[in-house]
Amino acid sequence: MRTTLKTDCWVLHLNGGYTLAISIFQVAELVNNIPRLSIPQAPAHCCYLISWRDKLIPLVDYQTNSSSSDSDNIMIVKFSGDDKNIQHLAFAVTSVEKHTVNDSDFSTLCPTPQHQSKLPFWSSVISAFQSNDGVSEREGESGTTYIIDIKHLYSS
């Protein structure tokens, strides 16, 4: 009998049309209506901090023209930092959903110039999968869900 390994994850539909999958253990909290604190001259995709549980957390928002809208949804993700302390990074999302991915769904990504120019987080991508049940097949999205090294994204 052939068995299929399955992994539970959260799929984040990011502002800007990108889709990420994170481990269910990485979710800290989904918040909304949280004020954005502007940092001048920071990169366009990460120019705000949010205050969450007495911590200041960088907010990644790939929809750079969303300006200072504070009525959006923000997923706070935790990861292990350099010193093994738990650190946090926030993502502006349009929606999130739970998903189960089969090992056979994972694809090997070829680093084409097209990928690199289109994906702002390309250097942090570890793997990806194509969804067969419509999770990533919304209008305007590529259908690929990426798994990224959040520590790398935070430090790059």
């Binding site: 001048p40 001259q41 990169p43 960088p58 935070y154």
Partner: protein
């Protein structure tokens, strides 16, 4: 018992036009030499051009106007400065060639625990940015910088401003 010494920083506030929110810059106290009213700013003719400067301490301090996102406002006149801002803070970096006066709406002094000053996360760094860290207090974010980082950020702008050579003055 070991106690932590608090530090005092100069807090320069620039408001968004028509709004109360704005940019708050924190600098070491010693980086701000003096604060003057913008009504003291003059348009000084130098070599067939004009330099909008503040004359104080026997020196000319070229005026720099920032928006709240640290964009430099070019070709400002003394009239504009006194209409849009209340004060000019004279900022003195290590190299006096790059001294300048920053127009602003308020300059205060704040005391804080150095441990509360947080380094800006790497993901928010850009090479050109003068912002080194943040201080969060009373639901407001303050951006930590110093005169040398601001001077480096403004270097090309300051080099383009005509000025009399009066660098013999020592402020440090």
């Amino acid at each position: 018992m070991k106690t932590t010494e608090s530090i005092r920083l100069a807090c320069i506030t620039i408001h968004k036009q028509g709004a109360h929110e704005g940019l708050s810059l924190l600098l070491p106290h010693g980086n701000v030499i003096t604060v003057e009213l913008t009504s003291s700013i003059k348009d000084i003719p130098i070599n067939k051009t004009t330099s909008t400067s503040l004359m104080t301490r026997d020196m000319a301090w070229p005026i720099v106007c920032f928006t709240t996102d640290l964009t430099i406002t070019h070709n400002v006149t003394s009239t504009q400065c006194s209409t849009d801002y209340r004060f000019a803070a004279c900022i003195n970096p290590t190299n006096p060639r790059y001294r300048f006066a920053l127009t602003c709406d308020q300059v205060t002094s704040i005391q804080c625990d150095p441990k509360a000053l947080l380094q800006l996360p790497t993901i928010m760094h850009t090479q050109k940015s003068p912002i080194m860290g943040t201080f969060y207090n009373d639901d407001a974010i303050h951006c930590v910088t110093d005169a040398d980082h601001l001077a480096k950020f403004l270097q090309s702008h300051l080099e383009a401003i005509p000025r009399h050579e009066d660098l013999s003055c020592e402020l440090h």
